[in-house]
């Protein structure tokens, strides 16, 4: 019989997310069944106990989010995964994780909304919710894979960033990416860089859990370590205790934003494809970026100078990358499976310098290369 190559698999996006999480050290998953994210929970339930990890099916997504924060506070890398309706429910405790600076990863496999929508149809409708879904001003890191291999890589990256910056990281991908199977080769676990949170080294009586540092990230003790500190969703002072003092709240809010801003060079990832001489630039992400790539290749064959900026990091929004693109390209096309969520950001950054065209689709079908090509023809 034909021998297969080692570490080569036909793998689903959802499955690759699990593989990445496990390699990154995830040992706790709490979730609730929901299409089209359920495979993540199912595979976690099989694999986590094999590596002495824990899977638990909670009573809802609110509970799932609470449980992963608890597990992370007890020192275990943890994640949940859901889709639109459940993503709405995780928002409450997602804000807690931002406020209390608890590392954790949330997967959202986007389906057609609003409300129950169509569970099995793709969408990119949760882009703004991933940024602003929980109340109050807060930092957000949101990564958007567009291939199965990238589901693996960004799953690892999500854990690494969350541990390094002590903040929840959202892995945001559409149903097409989540359910798509691709042939991929996975790296050996020892080839993958894994980052763990920095733990305090000072004696407990010297430990200041929310102390400012040059990078804005304080070392994180875990429950049971002997540090006996306090964690709260209330505004707190550097000791972690509730405070009503503006001179303590202000610096805290500054710090949780500053720690992300300082990390921009590492956090913000994008792919520049054929943009050097492009008069027309497409800005896309997720599965739509694949259609865009095909459209770029086909248009170039016909002599149209088109390029693609593929956003891998959606939030913090890649302002500088867009600014770079519009230095040359005066015509932008932003195709999305929503009514125009990233295009709003593009327009905000663009400030009228280039013309921004949008292609929007919210009927449950993907945006095809032909659809983008047609627009390229119209604007070129």
């Amino acid at each position: 019989m034909k021998k297969r190559r080692p570490r080569e698999f036909l793998m689903q996006g959802n499955e690759a997310v699990v593989e990445g999480a496990l390699v990154a050290g995830c040992r706790f998953f709490a979730g609730y069944p929901i299409t089209p994210a359920t495979e993540i929970a199912e595979i976690m339930s099989v694999k986590l106990p094999q590596v002495d990890g824990t899977f638990i099916q909670m009573e809802d997504e609110i509970a799932s989010m609470g449980a992963i924060i608890g597990a992370s506070l007890a020192g275990t890398k943890s994640m949940t995964a859901t889709s639109g309706p459940g993503f709405s429910l995780v928002q409450e405790n997602l804000g807690f994780a931002c406020m209390a600076e608890v590392p954790c990863v949330v997967g959202d496999v986007m389906r057609l909304g609003p409300s129950t929508g169509i569970p099995t149809y793709p969408s990119q409708g949760d882009v703004m919710q991933a940024r602003w879904g929980t109340h109050g001003d807060h930092p957000a890191i949101v990564l958007a894979p567009s291939t199965v291999r990238e589901c693996f890589d960004l799953s690892v990256k999500a854990f690494n960033l969350s541990e390094k910056y002590r903040t929840p990281v959202i892995l945001l991908f559409d149903e097409v990416v989540g359910h798509m199977r691709e042939k991929i080769t996975l790296p050996r676990p020892e080839e993958v860089e894994v980052i763990d949170r920095i733990r305090p080294t000072v004696p407990p009586e010297w430990y200041i859990p929310y102390e400012d540092t040059t990078q804005g990230v304080s070392p994180m003790a875990i429950f049971g370590d002997g540090y006996r500190f306090h964690v709260t969703g209330l505004a707190h002072d550097i000791r972690g205790f509730p405070t009503l003092r503006s001179d303590e709240i202000g610096p805290f809010m500054d710090r949780i934003h500053r720690k992300i801003t300082l990390g921009f060079p590492e956090i913000q990832m994008g792919e520049f494809f054929q943009l050097e001489d492009a008069d027309i630039a497409i800005i896309a992400y997720g599965s739509v970026a694949r259609s865009a790539r095909r459209a770029v290749i086909d248009a170039r064959e016909k002599g149209v100078k088109v390029g693609l900026l593929r956003l891998i990091t959606l939030w913090p929004f890649m302002r500088t990358a867009v600014e770079r693109v519009i230095q040359k390209a005066k015509m932008l096309i932003v195709p999305e499976m929503n009514m125009g969520q990233i295009s709003r950001e593009v327009k905000r950054v663009n400030e009228g310098k280039a013309k921004v065209n949008t292609i929007n689709r919210v009927d449950g079908l993907t945006i095809t290369p032909q659809q983008i090509l047609k627009r390229i023809r119209e604007v070129s």
Partner: protein, 281 residues
């Protein structure tokens, strides 16, 4: 040094800005005292205790005590506690909630935590009202009573927290009052030592909000009411149901054994690894 001074010295966070947030006469301080005494009796190390709370007056308890402490979102304390316990089963996780916290917004988490039988201790402070937000009616406000959102009197029936816990499958359920302080110490101690999901419902009073709106008198008057209306589980067995109307049944309602989630999950891990080795073999 007297016993109480020793306990205060050992368990309170002296660097925390006292005074505490509770109104003078509030029952929460008595519950905090009972909790500390109970923990001291168990002999558990402070490092190994995690005290988790939700939102409300009871939610402010953890900040004052020298354990690993976590003040979560409204109603969700048990979900966080579930994650902590499953991530590190060596930790003794105690959750303290209010009646609105545990039974209204957190009601679903409460019944499922009880059903799962994760080794946690849940202490529910039942003062029949949302105190911190200013005296709105809660799921345990009795029919006919007044609250700031029921000024024409409450038309809903109340939840009986302990009976709900029994039905949901908690392996230990006890009810006490802040008046019966010694019973409370022992109920909390037994719930902590119990393997599995233990519940202690504490009947407390909110003379500032609930008491004032319903003309129930001072904190002392409300505690006297607890004294006069409490019957033990043993006494209750000999009483007719109409005699029990309006009474508080105190004591241990349930103490039974069921498989504990963590022990069962250890078996899951073994089965998972067997499956793995057979796949590899």
């Amino acid at each position: 040094m007297p016993e109480i001074t020793k306990l205060i010295y050992k368990y309170l966070r002296h660097d925390k800005k006292f005074p505490h947030v509770w109104c003078p006469g509030c029952g929460t301080g008595i519950i905090l005292g009972a909790l500390i005494r109970a923990i001291d009796r168990t002999g558990y190390e402070k490092d190994d205790i995690v005290l988790v709370s939700g939102i409300g007056c009871s939610g402010r308890i953890p900040v004052y005590v020298d354990f690993n402490t976590l003040h979560t979102t409204h109603g969700r304390a048990l979900t966080f506690a579930t994650g902590i316990k499953l991530a590190n089963s060596n930790l003794n996780v105690i959750v303290i909630m209010g009646d609105g916290d545990a039974i209204a917004i957190g009601g679903n988490h409460f019944i499922h935590a009880a059903r799962r039988n994760i080794d946690l201790t849940a202490i529910i402070v039942n003062n029949n009202v949302y105190g911190m937000t200013g005296g709105q009616y809660s799921p345990t406000t009795p029919y006919g009573m007044r609250a700031t959102t029921a000024v024409y009197s409450n038309i809903e029936q109340e939840f009986k927290i302990s009976e709900l816990a029994v039905t949901a499958g908690a392996v230990f359920v006890g009810r006490g009052t802040v008046y019966h302080a010694k019973l409370l110490d022992s109920l909390i101690e037994r719930a902590i030592l119990k393997k599995g999901f233990g519940v202690v419902e504490v009947i407390s009073h909110c003379h500032i909000q609930y008491g004032k709106q319903n003309l129930l008198g001072s904190a002392v008057d409300m505690m006297k009411w607890q004294r006069d209306n409490a019957v033990t589980v043993q006494e209750a067995k000999r009483m007719k149901s109409e005699e029990l109307e309006g009474r508080i049944i105190i004591g241990v309602l349930v103490d039974k054994d069921l498989p504990i989630y963590q022990d069962e999950y250890d078996k899951v891990r073994e089965r998972a690894k067997e499956g793995l080795s057979s796949l590899e073999g």
